[in-house]
Structures are given as structure tokens and as C-alpha cells.
């Protein structure tokens, strides 16, 4: 316990001496304060007293709390916590492992009565802990803004704290492994960013294939239904043409599926940064009465057809995500990957000569 406390205190002093950490916390606070300065009423929005009338963004159209929640969702989660703040946190904690194993400082640490595994993991957790503090500050401030300015108190919001920490830990375990391997802060930071982009790309590809797969399946179902209604009405004039279309669409559906499942398998093995965020958004819909995140119209139009309604398609996508991409898949398998990474770190760290 004495040792763990000492390592945390040391990590705190380390971060404290590098102004970046406090800068990140301050920017977090500032972002929320700016959102707090936004006002909304029947006529439109206002920014710190300056009014912008709007026909659509006003409290007649939706309540004030929804306005702040939308901002929290689109700005707070999708831009701030899962991109910018995560990058700031990575920058301020990427040096933890390279500095731990730097020659000159590691000797003294290893000579103490603490096992190497524990030393490494404790130091790693300190990095996570301080990244978590940034998240906690941001979410608490957002909670207050939604409560005070929007008028509804949503404790369900706080689920964002552990989920964002977990999200960050996917990147941070990779960063630690790169730190052990390269011993360089800059190299591990850059490699982590590359890794993140790769994950982003792979997940986007999986989602794209999934949209195609679902659209194609729905198209098949729609044609089948059309054929059935024609047959019922004994209006079999079109049936032959429809059956031709059905056969084609079935082939297309098969192609989408055969492309999709391998992608799904790959994503299952890797840490799921986007999917974890999307899972969080679904939780906020359930627990903090957030709106469903709108799908981008372009995507819908790309796959849409005259037979499948946009609304039904959206619904199907959301339900598919809810049924197949739960916590176990989005977070559980990512944590499994993380455990392997950390295991690798500890294994390398334990057997290395310094």
C-alpha cells in the first residue's frame, strides 16, 4: 500500500510538473463553460447575450435539455472525449513507460522490494487514472450544465466516465507496449496514433459492409413481401420480373455477407474504439434519455432503395447494433485484446536486462 501510494504520488508530481495535464483539464472545463454560455428559448439560441433567431433550433421545437444533450453528444463525446481529449491525454501520459525504463532511473526502481509486474502495472494504471480525472471533470461539468441550463438531472450521464476510461485504455495499453519496445515517447505516441487510425479504418469498413449487408437483406425481404402480396391478389403479372430481381438481390446479399463476416471477425479481435463510443451513445439513449444518434443521410441514401423506407432502415441498423454489438462484444473483446497487450508488456519488462 505504501508503495502504491508512493507511485501514485510520484505520478501526480510528474504530471503536475508538466503543465500539459492541467492545460488539458482547463480546456475541458472551458469547453463545458462555453456550452453553458449557450442559451436557448422559444425564439432561437443565444451565445453569451448575442441572440440568433432560429425557426428550428428553439424550445418550441425541442426542450432545452435536449439541446444541451445534443451538444454533449456531438461535441462532448464524439469530438472532445474520444478524439481531442484522448489525444491530449495520450500526449501527457505517453512518456510514463519510456521514462520508467529510462536507464538511470529504472535501476533504482527495480532494486526496490516490489515485483516488476506490479511496478509496471501500477505505473501504467497511474497514467490511466489521471486521464480518467480529465474525463470525470468534463462529465461532471456537463452534468451540471445539462442540469442547470437544461433543467433535467441525468445521473445516467456518468456511465460515460468508466466507458471513456476504458476507451482510452485500449490506446494506452498499445502505447505502453510501444514504449517498452521502442523506449521512446515520441515513437510510441506516433505509433499509437497510427494504430488508432488503423482501428478507425477497420471499424468503418466493418460498419460500411454491415450497412450493405442489412440493406441487401431488407431488399430481399421487401421483394419477397411484394411477391407474396401479388400472389395473394392473384396479380401475377409482375411476379416473374420480381422473382428475377429477387434472385439478383439474393446473390448481392450473399456477396455482402461473405465480405462482411470476415471483417466482423477481424474487428472482434481488435480493440473497438468507435464501437465502444457508439455503445456508450446507445446507453445514453437508454439511461439518460438521449436521442438516437442520427445516421448520416449520405450513407442511408447510398444504400437506400424505393422499397425500403429510410426510417425502417435506420431502425434496423440500430436494432442490429443493439442485438449484436452489446457490452460483451464492444468492450469485452476489446479488454481481452488489452489484457494480451499488457501481458506482453509485463512479460517483456520482467525479462529484460536494464
Amino acid at each position: 500500500m505504501t508503495q502504491t501510494l508512493a507511485i501514485f504520488l510520484d505520478a501526480y508530481r510528474d504530471l503536475n510538473s508538466r503543465k500539459l495535464f492541467w492545460l488539458a483539464v482547463a480546456i475541458s472545463g472551458l469547453v463545458v463553460v462555453i456550452v453553458g454560455l449557450l442559451g436557448i428559448d422559444e425564439a432561437g439560441v443565444s451565445v453569451a447575450g448575442f441572440r440568433f433567431d432560429s425557426k428550428f433550433v428553439n424550445t418550441l421545437f425541442f426542450p432545452a435539455s435536449t439541446f444541451y444533450k445534443l451538444i454533449f453528444q456531438s461535441l462532448g463525446i464524439n469530438i472532445w472525449l474520444t478524439w481531442l481529449a484522448a489525444i491530449l491525454a495520450l500526449i501527457s501520459t505517453a512518456s510514463v513507460v519510456p521514462e520508467l525504463i529510462a536507464s538511470g532511473s529504472i535501476d533504482m526502481m527495480l532494486s526496490k522490494p516490489i515485483s516488476r509486474g506490479r511496478l509496471f502495472l501500477t505505473r501504467w494504471v497511474t497514467g490511466l487514472f489521471f486521464a480518467g480525472i480529465q474525463t470525470l471533470v468534463f462529465v461532471t461539468a456537463s452534468f451540471l450544465v445539462i442540469g442547470i441550463r437544461g433543467g433535467t438531472w441525468e445521473p445516467g450521464l456518468f456511465i460515460a466516465v468508466p466507458v471513456v476510461i476504458i476507451f482510452f485504455s485500449y490506446l494506452y495499453c498499445f502505447c505502453a507496449l510501444m514504449g517498452v519496445l521502442t523506449r521512446s515517447t515520441v515513437a510510441s505516441l506516433l505509433l499509437t496514433l497510427v494504430f488508432w487510425l488503423v482501428l478507425f479504418g477497420v471499424q468503418k469498413a466493418e460498419q460500411f459492409l454491415n450497412l450493405g449487408r442489412i440493406a441487401s437483406q431488407m431488399e430481399v425481404a421487401a421483394i419477397e413481401k411484394a411477391i407474396a402480396t401479388r400472389l395473394e391478389k392473384n396479380a401475377d403479372a409482375d411476379v416473374e420480373r420480381l422473382e428475377g430481381e429477387l434472385a439478383q438481390e439474393r446473390i448481392a446479399a450473399g456477396k455482402w455477407a461473405s465480405g462482411y463476416w470476415p471483417a466482423y471477425a477481424i474487428v472482434t479481435l481488435l480493440p473497438k474504439t468507435n464501437e465502444t463510443t457508439e455503445w456508450l451513445e446507445r446507453q445514453l439513449v437508454e439511461n439518460a434519455s438521449f436521442r438516437r444518434p442520427p445516421k448520416e443521410d449520405d450513407e442511408l441514401r447510398f444504400f437506400g432503395s424505393s422499397r425500403v423506407k429510410k426510417k425502417d432502415f435506420e431502425e434496423a441498423i440500430y436494432e442490429d447494433a443493439e442485438s449484436r454489438k452489446g457490452a460483451l462484444w464492444a468492450i469485452g473483446t476489446s479488454l481481452a485484446f488489452e489484457a494480451v497487450m499488457l501481458g506482453g508488456c509485463v512479460w517483456l519488462f520482467r525479462r529484460r536486462d536494464f
Binding site: T2, Q3, L5, A6, I7, L9, D10, R13, D14, N16, S17, R18, A102, S103, G104, S105, I106, D107, M108, M109, L110, S111, K112, P113, I114, S115, R351, D353, F354
Partner: protein
């Protein structure tokens, strides 16, 4: 009892660098033990193995009566690594406190101990400044304080006087004596011989991963007592009780030769003086001499060099061809290793 009792320690680093090839070390409790050797001899490797920083390839024996590297042992050892760098953001006091906590020293005890140690190493007035503002000597002192924070039985110091000015070195030597005075065992690792000679009870000389000699300085230099006679006009070879001795001509005076007679008895020297005088030579100086640790060191290391290539040899490398080896007979007045007389 032996504080350190190690046998056949070997270490082959990745990349097949054989840093240690069977070193044995016996350190008595309560003594200052000097581990000597040129740079690259493997001193730090040996110390790092004791401190679990480096994993040995093979090892037998005990440290403080227990197997090497267990946490129970580490709790009772203090360590000052070579080229250590303390975290930039800490003050001297915080450094000592931090390492105390890592050694599981409870908070209150730590607080008291930190003050005592800052006094011991003379850093009380500087305790609240960042270590970045310290001179090299101050950093070493804080390092020594950090090494003592857990009230260790054994203190291991790797090049504690490295980069420290002469006054600072003397102070560090005095600290070593005080640490021994408190009943602790000190293992000090250095390439600065004269320094170690002043304080160490016993020493080991290692080179290229092997122990060349081990014992008290008295034991190691016992067989090196001799008398030196300077005479002008003496013969090339002088017959003495110890057999014929060659007279080494010195450049500074024509005809002046120095005869070195390996004996510790003054009576053995008299016939030699007589015969010199009978030959009409003028005896200029007769002096009793003894090998210093430095002579011994240089002799051991140079002997060894005659047999192997300098530096750690690669495990896979064949024995060096004779032509490639430095000439064994080369008189090494200035030894190729770094040391301060």
C-alpha cells in the same frame, strides 16, 4: 558471517556479450569491500545482478544469507546505481522519501529518517530544492541518502565518486566510513583505485568478467615487498640472495641503474650493497618499497590482457590469433585503463 557469498556468477547479455565469466565474491559483514576493475570489466553487471536489475545467466550463493534477488533481501539492501538520474520534478527530500516508501518504510519512520539522512549527507539546506539544480556531488549525496533510507544491512554503491570533485570525494569517503561505523556492510564499486585503497578493508579485482585477485590489500601486496637500490656504475646484472637482478637504466642520469630486490629483509640487501661497492659503483639510494594497489591492479590487468583481447569478448568469437593480441611484454608504465593515481 558473509554478507555476500557468491560463486560462479556468469552473465551473457543479449547479443552474446559475455560480461561475467565465473566471478566469485565473498564479502564479510561490517566491512567496506572494494570491487575494482577497468571500465567494462563487469563490475556494474555484478552489482546489478545482486540488485535484480539484470538477470544472471548462472549464479550460486547467497546475499545476506538468502537467495539472490528475493524481495526480503532487497528490503535490506541500499543501492546507488551508476549514472543515476532522479526524477526532475522532485526535490532532494522527496527523492529520499519516495525511495523510502518504495522500500516499505512506514510514513512516520520515513519522515524521521529523511531528516537524519539529509543531515548525514550534509544536504539539509538543499533538501527542498529540485534535484535539477544540484551539482553532481550533491546528486551523489542525495543518492547515498536514498540508499540508506531503509536502514539497510548492506549498502551497494556503484561508482559513488564518479564526476565528483576532490573535496566531494573526500566527503564521500568519510561517509563510507561512517556508514561502516553504523555496522553496515558496504560494497563499493570503482575504477578509482587510490580512493578505494584508502577506505576498503578488502578488495576484489575483476577484469573481463573474471576475478583476478581477492583479499585484503595487505594480502594482495604481501609478496611484493622489495628493496630498491640506485647505483651509478653498477653491472648490468647483479647477483643477490634472490638470484640475479637486472639493473634498469634510468634515462635521467648516465650510468644510473635501479636494482629491485624482491625481499622484505634488510639483511638480504647488505651483500648486494657490498658487492656493488666492491665493484666501485656509487650507491645513491636504498629504499624499502612495496607494490601499491595500483601496481597490483595494472599488473593483474596487463597480465590478463596478454591472454585475451581487451573489452568483453564475444562468446562466439574464436580465441584471438596471437598477432592480434597486444604484445604481452609491452611495459605498461601508463596503463591503458583509466584510473587516478
Amino acid at each position: 558471517m558473509l554478507a555476500i557469498d557468491l560463486h560462479d556468477v556468469t552473465k551473457t547479455y543479449r547479443g552474446r556479450v559475455q560480461a561475467l565469466r565465473g566471478v566469485s565474491l565473498a564479502v564479510n559483514e561490517g566491512e567496506i569491500f572494494g570491487l575494482l576493475g577497468p571500465n567494462g570489466a563487469g563490475k556494474s553487471t555484478l552489482v546489478k545482478i545482486i540488485m535484480t536489475v539484470v538477470r544472471p545467466t548462472t549464479i550460486r550463493g547467497t546475499v545476506l544469507g538468502e537467495p539472490v534477488g528475493t524481495q526480503r533481501v532487497l528490503e535490506r539492501i541500499g543501492y546507488l546505481p551508476e549514472h543515476h538520474r532522479f526524477p526532475q520534478y522532485l526535490t532532494g527530500r522527496q527523492v529520499v522519501d519516495f525511495f523510502g516508501a518504495l522500500c516499505k518504510v512506514p510514513r512516520d519512520a520515513r519522515r524521521r529518517r529523511v531528516e537524519e539522512l539529509l543531515d548525514l549527507v550534509g544536504m539539509r539546506d538543499w533538501g527542498d530544492r529540485r534535484v535539477t539544480t544540484y551539482s553532481k556531488g550533491m546528486q551523489q549525496r542525495i543518492g547515498i541518502a536514498a540508499a540508506l533510507v531503509n536502514d539497510p544491512r548492506l549498502v551497494v554503491l556503484d561508482e559513488p565518486t564518479d564526476g565528483v570533485d576532490p573535496v566531494g570525494r573526500r566527503e564521500i569517503r568519510d561517509m563510507l566510513l561512517r556508514i561502516r561505523g553504523e555496522g553496515r556492510t558496504v560494497l563499493v564499486n570503482s575504477h578509482l583505485l587510490s580512493e578505494v585503497e584508502m577506505v576498503a578493508n578488502r578488495v576484489a579485482i575483476i577484469n573481463q568478467g573474471r576475478t583476478l585477485a581477492q583479499g585484503t590489500i595487505e594480502e594482495l601486496t604481501r609478496d611484493s615487498h622489495r628493496y630498491e637500490i640506485d647505483a651509478v656504475g653498477g653491472p648490468e646484472r647483479l647477483h643477490t640472495v634472490a638470484g640475479p637482478v637486472a639493473g634498469a637504466e634510468s634515462g635521467d642520469q648516465p650510468g644510473l641503474r635501479t636494482y629491485s630486490i624482491p625481499t622484505r629483509e634488510p639483511t638480504d640487501v647488505q651483500p648486494a650493497i657490498d658487492s656493488l661497492r666492491a665493484m666501485g659503483a656509487v650507491v645513491v639510494r636504498v629504499e624499502r618499497a612495496r607494490e601499491t594497489l595500483e601496481d597490483l591492479f595494472v599488473r593483474s590487468v596487463v597480465d590478463e590482457r596478454g591472454r585475451a583481447m581487451p573489452g568483453a569478448a564475444r562468446a562466439a568469437a574464436p580465441e584471438p590469433p596471437i598477432a592480434a593480441a597486444p604484445p604481452a611484454a609491452a611495459p605498461a608504465r601508463r596503463p591503458p585503463t583509466e584510473f587516478n593515481p
